[in-house]
């Protein structure tokens, strides 16, 4: 049986609407077990629900099972990070390029997760870069913010719906020391 000590958990973090549930769905063996509830603030564009506890699914590879956990995006459920971080080998941190808060969100998530485990590895995926609202997004500014927290975290533009893009984030995570 896999235990926490096996480091067989991969976490997906990021603010509300950044694409965590979608990303897990794109690579998991089965649809994730979700804890979706209607957004208390009302719909955000097309998004009407949000994850309140976690998303969970698995990826079976040979004799191994990778447990995929999606952390809830809302700040008030941040206590779940404390529960889920131990035993994970890395975090795929997804950030929404169309949000004005992307730099603050990056800083908040990196501070919070590194506070729980300073050795945690990150691969950062920037989503929604193709949207008109993302026209003012600066990749270099985000890189600057990330560098303040962790010197070598990869930052890549991804489409959370694309298994290939999410696999690339995991691939770079495995390459990180």
């Amino acid at each position: 049986m896999n235990t926490v000590a096996n480091y067989n958990k991969l976490l997906f973090g990021g603010p509300v609407g950044s694409g965590k549930t979608t990303a897990i769905s794109s690579i998991a063996d089965a649809a994730p077990v979700s804890t979706e509830a209607p957004l208390s603030t009302g719909p955000m564009g097309d998004k009407t629900d949000t994850t309140v506890a976690m998303d969970y699914s698995t990826l079976t590879l040979d004799e191994h099972t990778v447990h995929l956990f999606g952390l809830p995006g809302q700040q008030r459920f941040a206590f779940m990070r404390d529960i889920l971080v131990p035993g994970s080998f890395g975090v795929v941190l997804l950030l929404d390029a169309s949000s004005d808060e992307i730099y603050a969100n990056a800083s908040e998530w990196l501070t919070s997760l590194r506070g729980l485990d300073s050795g945690l590895k990150f691969a950062i995926g920037v989503t929604k870069t193709e949207l008109e609202k993302s026209v003012n997004f600066s990749l270099n500014r985000l890189r600057g913010v990330v560098r303040e927290h962790t010197p070598t975290a990869p930052v890549l533009s991804v489409d959370a719906r694309s298994a290939q893009d999410i696999k690339q984030l995991i691939r770079v995570l495995l390459h990180m020391k």
Partner: protein, 305 residues
């Protein structure tokens, strides 16, 4: 050699037949790979129009607006067409000659090697805004936000394709880049140049400096094998190393394109590498993966070797 697409609008069947015969006549030049089609929009390299025909006249107007070279059928007198022209009575061979002449006139000449090195040195200087122009197509490099922007996908593709073929460019530092008209076609600088340059065998070797990346390059790739190579190159280059180490493990043309793209994007820190280079830290991390069963399994799933 890249194929040339020729569109025709308002031409009679006899003219179209002669246009279609050109490919068989050509043994050299651009017309060897000519594709002839009915005008259906701006996706062509050259258009032959009959301006006396309403449809032809409309196609001519659109072609001029988009900078697509046009050959006019009939007496060119009265038209603002000073280059080669066609008449319906000409033989297919004369059509071929006129089309080759028009393509030569429209396409910027191939740049000699010394011009290329000037191009690379201009592109790798760290001015915040740079315009790269090939014919009527333009792409802007914005080093402040890390993106390459083109007004349209067609412009981005045209510039990328021209880079791939080694055509000449105008590179100019500009004061400002406008976001007017929305995002257009936007991709990271390193992604744009890597895709434009990979596959070229004549790029300068990047062996004259020690090399370290300041950030992971944002290169998106559809081909799994190439993606793995880029991932591996990125990981190695993030630690301090000499470029010769990259050349030892990867195809030279790939490393040239990768390093040059990262230099253009301003992702390299040569000072840092010079000061504290530590080749040992650049060793492949695949051994580390093997130490963990779960990571090795993930690596196999992702196609990492």
């Amino acid at each position: 050699m890249r194929g040339i697409t020729l569109a025709h609008a308002g031409c009679d069947a006899g003219v179209v037949r002669k246009l279609e015969m050109i490919r068989g006549l050509a043994t050299t030049g651009r017309c060897q790979n000519l594709r002839v089609k009915f005008w259906d929009g701006i996706g062509c390299d050259l258009v032959v129009v009959n301006p006396k025909d309403g449809f032809g006249d409309r196609a001519l107007e659109i072609a001029r607006r988009h900078g697509i070279p046009a050959l006019l059928l009939g007496d060119p007198g009265g038209q603002s067409n000073t280059g080669p022209s066609l008449t319906a009575e000409m033989s297919a061979f004369h059509f071929y000659e006129a089309i080759e002449a028009k393509l030569s006139e429209a396409e910027p000449s191939q740049a000699p090697a010394e011009e290329h090195s000037t191009l690379w040195s201009e592109l790798t200087q760290n001015h915040p805004f740079v315009s790269v122009r090939h014919g009527v197509y333009e792409v802007w490099v914005n080093r402040l936000d890390g993106y390459c922007i083109a007004r349209t996908r067609r412009a981005a593709a045209a510039v990328k394709n021209a880079f791939r073929e080694g055509a000449s460019f105008e590179v100019e530092q500009v004061e400002k880049i406008s976001n007017e008209g929305g995002a257009g076609d936007r991709t990271s600088i390193e992604d744009f140049f890597f895709k434009a340059l990979s596959g070229r065998s004549d790029l300068p070797e990047q062996t004259d400096f020690r090399f370290a990346l300041t950030s992971w390059p944002d290169i998106r790739c559809d081909e799994p094998k190439l993606t793995e190579q880029i991932t591996s190159l990125s990981a190695k280059a993030l630690t301090l190393c000499n470029t010769s180490e990259l050349y030892e493990r990867h195809e030279h043309s790939l490393v040239n394109a990768f390093v040059l793209s990262c230099r253009i994007a301003g992702l390299t820190d040569e000072t840092r590498a010079e000061a504290t280079g530590d080749p040992a830290s650049a060793s492949d991390t695949s051994d580390t993966h093997k130490s963990s069963g779960i990571k090795a399994a993930l690596g196999r799933w992702l196609g990492l070797t």
